[in-house]
Symmetry: C2
Subunit: 288 residues, 2 copies
């Protein structure tokens, strides 16, 4: 790492959407120097106006002095990175990504850069684009890394330090387990949630549709939040973690059919028992 007065040296953030923009804002607030790279001139101007980085550019040249680079790009661009980007990454810089499917990313990058650390924060909201980045997005959220035997341990420890400084809870696991886990708790819920929204729209009785819109409150809002999220992200996670999501969908359909049977059979005591059980599971996942 070059000598600077900053613990991380100069930091490059590639992509200034929700995740990249939020990382860049938080890092700056910690007194760090951030260079932001975006693909379009228009985005660069907006990013500069929003102060997402001290310097914003559309030229990969901007990365040449960076000591730490965060690739905050859409999943497909992480799995199939363009040559110009690869060529602009200094060999001595530590590189990490923010993609939510780790096996294909690790597969691509383990042979592309000696100091690549596969990682990503478990955080997000319904916003996207250059206007989306916001402070404190990662506070108290998991930040997971999936190193393998080739991963540079000093690079790994630097990314851990950065994630911790952003307020995240650091977790390490292997890429395959990670992808299975997020298929169930992150990618499948997008499909479940989107299916509910899609089904509501099949409602041909317009009065009923408008009444639903008027009455919809926090329960419907929460259940549909991620189904109404970034469509491109939903597509990318589906196309890159397909078989794990399909396994999840299969189990989910069995689960929903079991609940349907309880309603059809009017087995209310068993239904209440099941709901006591699901409450117990959720309380264990999110102790208040």
């Amino acid at each position: 790492m070059k000598e600077t007065n900053q613990p991380f040296g100069l930091i490059g953030v590639v992509g200034l959407g929700l995740i990249g923009g939020s990382i860049a804002l938080d890092l700056q607030s910690l007194g760090l120097q951030v260079r932001g790279l975006t693909s379009r001139k228009e985005s660069a101007i907006k990013a500069q106006c929003r102060g997402l980085a001290q310097v914003v550019s559309t030229s990969p040249e901007i990365l040449k002095d960076c000591d730490l680079i965060i690739l905050a790009l859409p999943l497909n661009q992480l799995i199939k990175p363009n040559k110009k980007l690869i060529d602009s990454l200094p060999e001595e810089a530590v590189i990490t990504d923010v993609g939510s499917v780790k096996e294909p990313i690790l597969h691509t990058w383990e042979n592309l850069h000696p100091k690549f650390v596969p990682s990503h924060p478990m955080a997000g909201n319904n916003k996207s684009g250059i206007e989306a980045g916001a402070r404190h997005l990662f506070k108290d959220r998991p930040w997971v890394s999936t190193p393998n035997s080739k991963t540079d341990l000093r690079a790994l420890s630097l990314i851990k330090e950065m994630a911790t400084m952003l307020g995240s809870k650091w977790i390490t696991t292997d890429a395959k387990s990670h992808d299975q886990a997020v298929a169930f708790i992150s990618h499948l819920p997008v499909i479940i949630s989107a299916s509910l929204l899609s089904m509501i729209q099949t409602q041909t009785n317009k009065d009923l549709y408008f009444l639903m819109k008027e009455l919809a409150s926090s329960g419907f809002s929460d259940t549909t939040r991620i189904g109404g999220g970034n469509p491109k992200l939903g597509r990318d996670m589906s196309s890159n973690n397909t078989s794990a999501i399909l396994d999840g969908l299969d189990l989910y359909k069995t689960s929903i059919t079991r609940f349907e049977k309880l309603l059809t059979e009017k087995n209310w005591s068993k239904l209440e028992e099941e709901l006591k059980n699901t409450k117990k599971i959720r309380d264990a996942f999110f102790p208040s």
Copy 2:
């Protein structure tokens, strides 16, 4: 209405759980006099300690001077109210309820009390019991009423005034339409959300289960919130709005199978199009 220095006279709240407790707290903060009725001595003591009402009792006698009474009881107790409670309601008092299935409640009460107004707030969270009541639960939430031709219009207007004072958005519709609408946007989501939690638990690989628990973040939290809610409430809404929920489940299964097909066929452009559409629906339901 008796002469008091309060616009609503003396208010009785029957049941001091999440909804009743929250109503009672907000009404008191508006300077109103509230009498709280609970069924168990222990709850009455706790409610008194929490200051949920100025006077708390386990004796229905407490309602005898009330001008407005809110029945904040579980759905089944609203549909089959006990005789002691019915007998304790003054004939000149205005009565409303908070039950989320209106047809059976209206059916019961339209012949029981001349000033009964069927209504309920679309609000809640994962808490229940005497500890759950909190201020501002109804702010900016819909409060829906389903009067029929027998409903006393002055009583209706009093309940509207109360709901508005609690910060709610007043909506009027018929009981049948209401029950259909909430089946889709409120009751069905409970089953959808619970099915996800239940399916996660079928995961026999313990390491994966613990990893899911570590990685679960806001997306999983939101999608599972209402599936981890009050089991008794879930049972009651299911048993009292069964056919509308089953209709919804049928449509929902079709919707989820359609998404599954897109994943199986790897039809990513169509999937992205569908997700753009679901985003549009949600943005229309909840404009930010």
